[in-house]
Amino acid sequence: MSGGASSAANPLSRVALAVPEGLGLGLSLAGRGTGVALALYIAVDQSYNRTEVLAIGVAVVALATLAAGLATKSAWFPALGGSALFFVGALLWSVDAGIAMLVTGTLAAIGTVLHTHRAGLPLDAPVSAFFVGFGLTSAGVVVLLLLVRG
């Protein structure tokens, strides 16, 4: 997992370096893009206020991380987008599209880690962003529950 001198002895690192170039970036983009589509579908399909607001919120965040990817090569934003989709998908587990959203978030996060590793960059940024995403998602959900009547 960690890069640098230990990479040669790390089978995960070898796998990451063996996959086709561009796969990581492709997974990251496709995962978040599909996640945005799923979130919008949930917002339209579900009639429950809180679910609608949560789905629109995560769609905006994931879309923003796609846009941010055009401006910066940092892995922070893509990992944050994947994280938001992953954790909101876990919250919306009772909805089929919510499970799919969790999967797209997972793929986006894995893709971001792959891409970062292949680029020879440390994994601090994507891993940190993933867990920061959990904190931000949790805080956002608590605020939503307080502000939006169910």
């Binding site: 997992m1 230990s6 089978p11 949560l54 876990a90 009772s94 959900v141």
Partner: protein
């Protein structure tokens, strides 16, 4: 935390990161997931079902309530409308029904309540839904929406209770309540 994790050998670091993600996701779902979950249930009116059975029909086929249930099939003892609380919504009608065989049913009609964790249906002596903590626990909430029947424990003196409360036991919060008014 991440820096410390990433300095560990890969065979500790990778499972630790994945494990933490899974633990966070599962705990988030456990604590907050039910706030976004909707469940539907549509059960037949026990009065209509009893009337249909009396007439030789199959109770399960009845979808419409009887227009005017006869006293022989049972009666409605009390009724009330579910109301919102500060943070949560509730709507629909609660009915306390006594079936001809003497059993008591608490029926919710056109019912809807905000989702939440660990929700229970409680009978409270207080008309404003307070005191649910010490009330009579009828059952775990079986669905957030629909027409739902709950069996009231045999021997319960329903005249002692003045409200039906949807109570979150984990948080100790009333989600919605219906003040019961006795039908003369």
């Amino acid at each position: 935390m991440t820096r410390v994790l990433l300095k560990l050998p890969w065979f500790i670091c990778a499972p630790a990161v994945v494990g933490l993600a899974v633990v966070f996701a599962v705990s988030g779902n456990y604590l907050l997931g039910s706030s976004f979950a909707r469940t539907f249930l549509d059960e037949a009116d026990p009065l209509a079902a009893a009337l249909a059975t009396d007439n030789g029909e199959v109770a399960g086929d009845v979808t419409e309530p009887a227009a005017s249930p006869t006293p022989t099939t049972g009666s409605i003892l009390a009724t009330g409308e579910f109301m919102d609380t500060t943070l949560y919504s509730g709507s629909g009608t609660a009915k306390v029904i006594e079936i001809a065989d003497g059993s008591l049913v608490l029926r919710f009609e056109d019912f809807s309540v905000s989702g939440g964790p660990d929700l229970f249906v409680v009978l409270s002596t207080e008309p404003d839904g307070s005191g649910a903590r010490d009330g009579l626990e009828v059952d775990r909430l079986r669905a957030t929406d629909g027409n739902i029947n709950y069996d009231i424990p045999p021997g319960t003196d329903v005249s002692l209770y003045n409200s039906v409360v949807i109570y979150c036991r984990r948080l100790g919060i009333e989600f919605s309540f219906a003040t019961l008014e006795t039908i003369p």
